[in-house]
Assembly symmetry: C2
Homo-oligomer: 605 residues x 2
């Protein structure tokens, strides 16, 4: 293990070779009406902008990143997202034109506190105005629209600060982005994350070499304060578990490095190295400027305001969070998801299982999942906005699972056939526990106003997104609070009721969110099951091989009659009921509670 992996400090041997620069002579009017003269933006581009200018992807870097998102050639140094961006990669520069600018307020070329103030001929220092994330995004818009002449970006993609910038793009410039990929971000920082930023800034501001920010001509910098800020930030980028893996085994074996900081423990020498290295390439005033902009950012301080902000957006959204991220914890992405859904926006969401903390989006560990999510999301978004310009098509065969409870050679989902018959065309459908999206894909091919799936398994979510479906990572047992009343015409719970614990909650929620609910479930009253119990064995409803009473996912057992009783008790109205014998592949009309192994019920309140 090399604890001194410097993934974020890769520098180009000949940095100027690929760097492009544009200076806007007109003043930039900031959120507080202050003006910035002569804003310069440094950016790098990859791939080719097509004639219609509809294949452009803007990538927004994180706090300490820059325009060098990937290498431009084999001889070039790797970029900070080298694993994701490049020819044939997840963001494929053979297909897309990638643009990555350094942010306003930064210190990697774009105008920031270390730039010369044209009005004074001196560096700005602390006189650099108090900018906002919105100001940073406005500068990006000028670059994209005014300078590059791109009317609408195919996508804006970013993680952390970059993810926050995608939120601004999507809500502020709804007609200028077809899709946004917001990774490891949130509507605002948690009070905990905010507190760390404040301590970091206090360390910089109280460094005796800070000189009120005018240290540029002093021959010294607030390096100690900045290094301490960076050490602190580094802890928040990792996770409890990733730190354990990185440092526990050689806790007391510090690396011998030249530093003024404590190096007693291995994690201490790592932090000292990270701190010392950072001050060589980053400006303390930029740190203060960007961190304050991020700390003040607020997309919506409560659910209502967040819904209001996101309501303006018109793009397709992909939200990605990581389970061990505690800088922007997953619940913050879920708040965005909830608010976007409440505004009936088209979104996808996956909470990627990871030990790597906030930095997971920069690492290879979970690349296969988040990389493929982004790849498929971009592919289908592009297909949607520009169907004739496909670079190829993905195979999207509908797979045929077994419906029946008794292994036969029948491979056709007759329950889906019946559900499809029950659902009128063009209606709005929510599919709970949508699996790999087979039912939704059949509906999609038929044409529907709105199709949304909920699924709990990461791999199945990826399969849905690969089919171009809108799917949300969610646990049914926690309810459907994201959705508003009667948001859908039909809410479908297909062969999932038997594995739901909170049956009452889920059905209540289905009938709140949908005008009608469609529920299908295995009928425990089926003749074969009765016979099994008569023979002294508990009936086995789980058709998968090897699944028995002790290892099935099924935890609820009910007959059609039980379900009817339940609906009566709850005051639910049963509109129609279709009973199937899936072994014979037929609809059952006579005594379904005895003769059917699956029931499909349409109900409303």
């Amino acid at each position: 293990m090399n604890i001194f992996d410097d993934s974020d400090s890769c520098r180009n041997a000949n940095p100027l070779q690929y760097i492009e620069t544009v200076t806007f002579p007109d003043p930039l009017v900031l959120h507080n009406q202050q003006e910035l003269l002569e804003v310069t933006v440094v950016y790098e581009t990859y791939g080719t902008l097509n004639e219609r200018k509809d294949n452009a992807v803007l990538i927004c870097h994180a706090f300490s990143g820059d325009s060098h998102v990937a290498s431009h050639s084999d001889a070039d140094d790797p970029g900070w997202w080298e694993i994701l961006v490049g020819p044939g990669k997840y963001i494929d520069t053979n297909k897309y034109f990638v643009i990555c600018p350094n942010v306003l307020g930064g210190c990697r070329g774009t105008t920031g506190p270390d730039s010369i103030n044209p009005q004074t001929g001196q560096r700005y220092g602390m006189d650099f105005p108090d900018i906002s994330i919105e100001d940073m995004v406005e500068v990006q818009r000028k670059l994209v629209e005014d300078h590059l002449g791109i009317q609408r970006l195919l996508a804006v993609v970013g993680g952390s600060l970059g993810g926050v910038m995608t939120l601004v793009w999507g809500t502020r410039f709804p007609d200028k982005v077809a899709s946004c990929v917001a990774i490891a971000s949130g509507a605002h920082l948690t009070s905990q994350s905010l507190a760390f930023d404040i301590v970091a800034r206090n360390a910089i501001l109280s460094d005796p070499h800070f000189y009120q920010g005018q240290y540029y001509d002093k021959g010294t910098t607030p390096a100690t304060g900045l290094a301490i800020a960076r050490m602190l930030a580094h802890i928040t980028y990792l996770s409890l578990e990733s730190m354990r893996k990185k440092f526990d085994s050689d806790r007391n074996h510090a690396r011998q490095i030249k530093t003024s900081f404590e190096t007693k423990f291995s994690v201490g020498s790592y932090l000292a190295h990270q701190g010392d290295k950072f001050v060589e390439r980053f400006d303390a005033n930029s740190y203060l400027t960007i961190s304050m902009a991020l700390d003040k950012f607020e997309l919506g301080e409560n659910r209502e305001k967040l819904i209001h902000s996101l309501r303006k957006s018109m793009c397709r959204w992909l939200f990605v969070s990581f389970t061990s991220d505690w800088l922007y914890p997953p619940f913050q992405s879920q708040e965005l998801v909830d608010a976007a859904l409440a505004g009936d926006k088209r979104i996808c969401y996956c909470n990627v299982n990871s030990d790597c903390g906030h930095d997971a989006f920069l690492l290879e560990n979970e690349l296969e999942i988040y990389g493929n999510l982004i790849r498929s999301f971009l592919f289908h978004t592009y297909q949607e906005i520009c169907p004739r310009n496909l670079f190829g098509s993905q195979s999207l065969e509908i797979s045929e699972d077994e419906t029946h409870f008794f292994p036969t050679k029948r491979k056709h989902r007759i329950d889906y056939d019946r559900i499809l018959e029950l659902i009128p065309a063009k209606t709005k459908i929510l599919d709970l526990g949508c699996g790999k999206g087979d039912l939704l894909l059949r509906l999609k091919e038929r044409g529907h106003e709105r199709l949304v799936g909920l699924e709990i398994e990461e791999q199945l979510i990826l399969k849905c997104i690969e089919k171009g479906l809108d799917v949300i990572h969610a646990d049914l047992d926690k309810g459907l609070h994201s959705f508003f009343d009667k948001q859908f015409d039909f809410v479908v719970l297909s062969k999932t009721l038997q594995s739901v614990r909170n049956v009452e909650l889920v059905l209540e929620e289905m009938l709140r969110v949908g005008t009608r609910a469609i529920v299908s479930f295995p009928n425990f009253g089926f003749q074969k099951f009765r016979e099994e119990l008569q023979m002294g064995r508990a009936p086995q409803t789980d058709p998968r091989p090897g699944r028995k009473w002790f290892n099935t996912n099924d935890v609820r057992f009910l007959t059609i009659a039980d379900f009817e009783d339940f609906c009566k008790e709850k005051g639910y109205r049963i509109h129609r009921q279709v009973a199937l014998n899936t072994e014979l592949g037929v609809i059952v009309d006579s005594d379904p509670n005895l003769n059917a192994d699956v029931a499909i019920v349409i109900l409303s309140r």
Copy 2:
């Protein structure tokens, strides 16, 4: 909400009134063979030491605490654990003689870096030796044993640093403590928590007013560095959720306070206040000394070493963690629990559900649970070591729950009668899902070598501890990894199998940990259930009123025949099987799969 609650800085109006002091003239030999001359200890006591000197409870304070654990009179200032310690309180000073000393290395009276070095006549400063937690505890031992003449403490109690000190007491002086209560502690700091300490120390060490620790005569102190260290520590004492509750609603409304630190956000003004206030009462060298001692502390860096360390202990342990504590996360208390159990120690453990983070043990929010855990644990420990000296007795009636599945007036647990018959006297028993401990209490009254319960519900754990039982907070579905092979003669799973998801794992583990397993479960093959299904309704095995297929905790349904098949398939040997009809209150001999509603099975591998 008063965000400036100063719970940890309560000072006595006349602090010297109750403070006692002892100076040991002999040198204290430290862990590294260095010597400290003339160690002075400041301590406070409460209540009366009885003639046998067997009612003494030592309380160890946390990082920034001191000897003033509670007020001595109504006129006195409240202490840092006022809510817990006092006449009639959870640690009842009417019963117990409470001792609370300030730690070695501190700055509240006991010898520390700000004390005069008798060899130089100057303050120690950075010349204060590199002490360990073990050194701090050795000073406490001298106070307790050499000075106060107490051969064995009834208990050592502490949280955080104090909890770590209890670990040292229990393992280093096994014959000098009857019990230890270790709250919010661990065998060592996580790498994440260690990292925060390192950044905090770097802030102090790089403060230009630190002067290599010899700042005492400079007329200034490294107040900025110390304040930054304290701000950082404060964040780790709270939780994501408690910070949200404290600061989210008025995020941008900072309190106007006089400070040199940033006060832009409410959390910023809070941290600035905490930092500024702390430097008035705490010495930077003490901060460095104590934090380094804590950081270097290691009870066992892996499971084997931890088992080895804890194996030496002879006391009864109570471990308490808090779900939202991320400074000493619950898994660290669980590591201690696991290692102590592997050494066959007598322990109790509860992971208290709390939003309050690490500081929960100082707050009233969860006091009712952790306070009562401590109260009952102390009561029963004292009763065990000194049965004739009870201050009263708690009522310990055995409650009689319903065994049967059909409501009748029978209130006697006949399944317990049968299980008791099946278990030979004096054997070692582990009861999984022990509930409020009724079966264990019956066994206890009969006399057994070892009785341990596992339970998932906090309130039921408290009920067990109130009965004087040893109970561990655990989730059966995660297995029994704490225990070694064949640690018990019998492992009992009484009427719990039907709500276990990982049936295979639990049974495998039972047969690994116990020579025999006793499993009781409702028989789905019972005649009445068969009839119910014949009538088209799914049988309901849950006897509690209002519980039906959709809201029962039962998730596994099996007949006696199914269980026999399962045992055959797994190669388990069934030694004996007792079938009951709990409605009639009789043992069933004829066709139990049809006539019994409950089966009790003894098996082995």
